[in-house]
Each structure stands twice: as structure tokens, then as C-alpha cells.
Symmetry: C2
Subunit: 137 residues, 2 copies
């Protein structure tokens, strides 16, 4: 039933991420948010104001792809842009954005708990450190 690819770390990593992101996407759908949009709200909630470029660097999103992402959030009145100088814009959460953030935080907490609960207890503490070793820096 299982195939020989299942023992490959890279294959397992890809399948697990695909499954979990599909699950998270389904849970976010009722809020009309995509994963990147929810991530952005969570990030802004902890860092106050950031520029588009700073957000992109933090989330691993290319600058060019930040434009439609911020555009959708602004169209939904969840964020606002205010000039810092004549070159940069500060992205901040609106009141509606902060209310949406609360929902995202609740939903995310439940999702992350459910994800961890699927991992056998003896492996659980090793999960995030192993993953972070693969991409940080």
C-alpha cells in the first residue's frame, strides 16, 4: 500500500506540507482569507508597523508578489498604508484588521494544536526544531 517514496524525507516533507496547508486553507476559507493573508495579519499583530519589503522578507514572499497580496487586504479594509517618507509605506492593521486577527489567532491556535496532536508524542518536541533547521538563514 505505501510506496517506496514514503521513506524519503523530502517526499514526506512535501506531502505533509501539502496536506496541512490544504487543511489550513479550508479552515481559513470561511474568513475569506488565504494562508499568506492570515500569516501577514499574524505578523503585523506582533510587530506593529512594517513596510511591504520588510513583510516580504519576513514571510519569504517576493516584493512583486506583495503588491496583490496587500491590495486584497487593503480592499478588505484589514490593513492601511501610511507614508513613512516619500519612498516607503507603513502597513498597519485597521480596527477591522485587528478584529480579524483575533479570529485568525483562535483558528490558528486550534489548527496548530490539531496538527501537533497527530504527531506521536515521542516525536512531537523534535518537529519544529528539525523543520527550522531546514530553512532558517
Amino acid at each position: 500500500m505505501p510506496n517506496p517514496l514514503d521513506s524519503l524525507p523530502g517526499y514526506a516533507l512535501n506531502r505533509a506540507a501539502q496536506a496541512m496547508m490544504a487543511e489550513l486553507g479550508s479552515r481559513l476559507a470561511p474568513l475569506d482569507l488565504r494562508i499568506a493573508e492570515a500569516s501577514l495579519l499574524l505578523l503585523l499583530g506582533s510587530k506593529a508597523a512594517m513596510t511591504s519589503s520588510e513583510i516580504g522578507r519576513a514571510l519569504g514572499i517576493a516584493r512583486a508578489n506583495m503588491v496583490p497580496l496587500l491590495g486584497r487586504l487593503e480592499a478588505a479594509s484589514l490593513i492601511a498604508r501610511e507614508p513613512i517618507d516619500r519612498k516607503s509605506l507603513a502597513i498597519t492593521l485597521t480596527a477591522a484588521g485587528k478584529r480579524m486577527l483575533k479570529k485568525v489567532e483562535t483558528l490558528t491556535r486550534a489548527f496548530e494544536e490539531d496538527l501537533l496532536s497527530r504527531i506521536p508524542a515521542e516525536h512531537r518536541a523534535h518537529f519544529v526544531p528539525a523543520l527550522n533547521a531546514l530553512w532558517q538563514h
Copy 2:
């Protein structure tokens, strides 16, 4: 420097998979193969002949998306399709496909070793079991 999302398992999972798949994609580029194509060759190498639907189920690829995938591999003369009955086709590796498979196996082995080597030793043995718990069945 790090952001608060880094401690979330789902976020770390997604970033790690994104980074590792980008790395694998770069390594496969000289062979002119995409990740799904290389996965298909590896699968066929261990299972002899399979139908398109069986491959799709094994790799988590929708049947409709198997069509262009198999089309590219057939255009590259790496696979062949032979009728099983008047409804199904057996997908098999051609001689060129088997030669390419050897390259993919060598490359994949190196990639998987490099991936694991990035994970601190104490976390390494927990990695694949934790991931497989998230998506299998």
C-alpha cells in the same frame, strides 16, 4: 530577527518544504525534470507497470493532472503506454527512462542525505515518522 510565526509547526512546515523543494527543483533542472516527473520515475522503478490512475493515487496527483505529466514524460521518451484492456494503459519505463532513473536515484540519494544532514542529530530519527503521521491515510 526571527518572527513569531517561526514557532508555529504549520508555518515551519510550509517554509521548510518550500525551501527544500526549491533546492530539489534546482538540482533536477539539469536533467530537465520537474519534481513530480522525478517522483514518477522513482515510483515506476519500484513497481514495474502501473496505470495513470494508480500513479495518481500513489503520488497524490489528480487524474486530470496526470495527463500533461505523462505527456511530457512520453514526449521525452522516458515512458511508454501499452494497452492493458480497452480501458486502461500500463505505464512503463523505456530504456531511456531507466537510464534517467539511475541519474534520478543518484541525485535523490545525495539530496536526501544533504537534507538530513542539516537537521541536528538528536532530531533526525524523528523527522520522517512525524511527517508521515501528518498525511498518510
